[in-house]
Symmetry: C2
Subunit: 371 residues, 2 copies
């Protein structure tokens, strides 16, 4: 990450004033309220619990949300006040705590939600945000269709680990005598996507989220806002904007048709590809043949494991767009977005009325065959 | 791990009847009660909290302990009853959840503590134990002296992650309709060392704990006991017993002289090297120049990063003991047990009377110099 080209302005142009978003307008809030219809509202109630693994994982995430944070110490610790040193320290701490990617930015006011789900205005006076990103496991992504029964648990993997790490970093900073607040699944007061953009975790891609050059969009992130004096990372540019123009695989494969083809548009001050949040959220919540959906994550040519060849391809994309379409074709030929069913390790199960059943549409595989 | 030679009996001979241990007799219980003297008792009270990072990490571990587990579902899930498949499934699940090493064994009755810290008898009817091991971070171990201010946080790293994973696996099994119980830091009813031995995580080494061929003793483990029908792994033999006879580096470097030189002895039915628990625990708790101690972990020639050369050395040790002393000498020459201070990323700090100070003996390094 430290070798990526950094730029002054993010590659997603911010063309005008960005209005703060209200938490009540988020897709899942709308779904829970019934704005997306009765069926989606009903399915929302069992969204995390209908598969036993995501249920077990979200138990822990809810548990984190219910924990109280440490008290901020009255006396500040005798640590250096050099923002460069402190940023290095905090990022190295994040990697020690098993984060996959760390980044730091100033906290723009427009990245703070306007009002919370109950309609109360949100105020955060912290100057900086620390971003903690966690890989959702390449092997499992390979073995899945993208929207089968493991999908929600893959999200939960990113959520639970980034939540744990953000809480430990936040408490640590409080013990150093500085204010800090963790923002993670079930506990956000800031929007994660703009923070990932500004902290150089990646560029915004066609699906509207941040894409990291090493993980693609196969990650979830949490943040810690703080007044610890930090040096900020700058946004990155690895050639994604033109790549996404030339690719469109996610738009091709999205089962709910929520991703646009073609050009960007301007909305709320951003120039980016605008996905249909209503149809995306509704599909994930009410998917009857799986638990949630991550088809766009799996379809993306940037969803790759570590390796020299992929390092070389990243270098090519950075330096010329001449090969973009060829590389997307190579990705198809390589079958990266196909399901590698022999690697499937989970059971297809669905909870209904307190009982686990084998779902109607299941691509169950004999795990024994794996070896 | 799956390629290691498995054996019928563990390489630590169990020569007679093993008596169940009472939780009250554990080193930390003794220290907390005052059996190791007033000073150790006083220091015990601030053991995890005297360094701000371990404090923040143990906040989460205590939080886990306070969470209630999921209810066991009345109806069992329609999953295969083949123990081989179920064991593969559970181990693959553990790796998905970011465990570093997984193993499964039958739960021997002598591995269950006899009575808890309050003196209540412990009964566990589960037939199997699933072991989850977490690496304590090679890079940080390299940068530390072994008993400086980061040591307790390195332990906490293994504890917090194995606790999280064990709780998710336990809740998942309960949702499948089988009984399960997590055992992790602050929440044990079983002894982890014998389970690591029986589940083939490694062999018992000179320091009395289990050594894994890839991690050395640089890991912490948690367990889930359960009645889910599982296939057990067998113990491993990678040539450690004779290696430890030839090495003795841990005994040389132990700052409290708690590790014996020479031969094994028989105690409570085991034939192994018996460490002095009182002096080891007392040193860790009352270390005035750091937070806890992991000198033996760092000194051990098996504390190595991943790599082809070390794979080859492991192969040599497995197949002949002729080179053992030469390899220990090579390890010295390689300077693996030296502190790589340029890699140090943490601050030396000590909490006293609610205030963080720079400790008297500090090897503070300018983090900026790192790059």
């Amino acid at each position: 990450m430290e070798k990526l080209v950094r730029v002054e302005q993010p590659t997603t142009r911010i063309t005008g004033e960005v209005t703060r978003i209200n938490m009540r307008d988020r897709g899942f809030d709308c779904a829970g309220r019934g704005d997306y219809g009765d069926f989606v509202k009903e399915e929302y109630e069992r969204f995390c619990d209908k598969y036993p693994l995501s249920h077990a994982m979200f138990d822990m995430i809810s548990g984190f949300g219910a924990m109280s944070g440490a008290e901020v110490k009255n006396n500040r610790a005798p640590i250096p006040q050099d923002p460069h040193m402190l940023s290095r320290h905090i990022k190295r701490l994040g990697y020690f705590l098993r984060a996959d990617v760390m980044g730091i930015c100033e906290l723009p006011e427009w990245a703070i939600y306007g009002v919370d789900s109950e309609g109360h205005p949100i105020t955060i006076n912290h100057k900086y945000a620390i971003v903690v990103a966690i890989d959702q496991d390449y092997q499992t992504m390979s073995a899945s269709t993208g929207d089968d029964w493991i999908s929600c648990s893959q999200s939960a993997l990113g959520y639970v680990n980034s939540a744990l790490i953000s809480r430990m970093i936040s408490n640590y900073i409080r013990y150093l005598g500085y204010s800090a607040q963790p923002h993670h699944s079930g506990n956000y007061q800031v929007m994660i996507t703009p923070l990932c953009l500004m902290a150089g975790i990646g560029e915004i891609c066609r699906t509207g989220v941040v894409l990291n050059p090493f993980l693609g969009t196969r990650f979830k992130a949490a943040a810690v806002t703080t007044d610890l004096p930090l040096e900020q990372d700058r946004p990155v540019d690895f050639g994604l904007q033109e790549f996404c123009m030339n690719c469109e695989k996610c738009a091709d494969e999205c089962p709910s048709g929520s991703i646009v083809f073609g050009d960007k548009s301007v909305h709320n001050g951003y120039e980016s590809w605008r996905i249909d949040h209503k149809s995306c959220t509704s599909y994930r919540i009410s998917n009857q043949n799986g638990s949630s959906c991550g088809t766009c994550i799996k379809a993306c040519p940037w969803n790759k494991p570590e390796g020299r060849i992929h390092d070389f391809v990243r270098w090519v994309v950075k330096h010329t767009h001449f090969f973009d379409r060829f590389l997307v074709w190579m990705d198809d030929v390589g079958g990266y977005s196909k399901q590698r069913i022999k690697k499937k390790w989970w059971f297809d199960l669905e909870e209904r009325d307190g009982e686990l059943r084998i779902p109607k549409k299941s691509n169950e595989v004999n795990i024994e065959k794996e070896g």
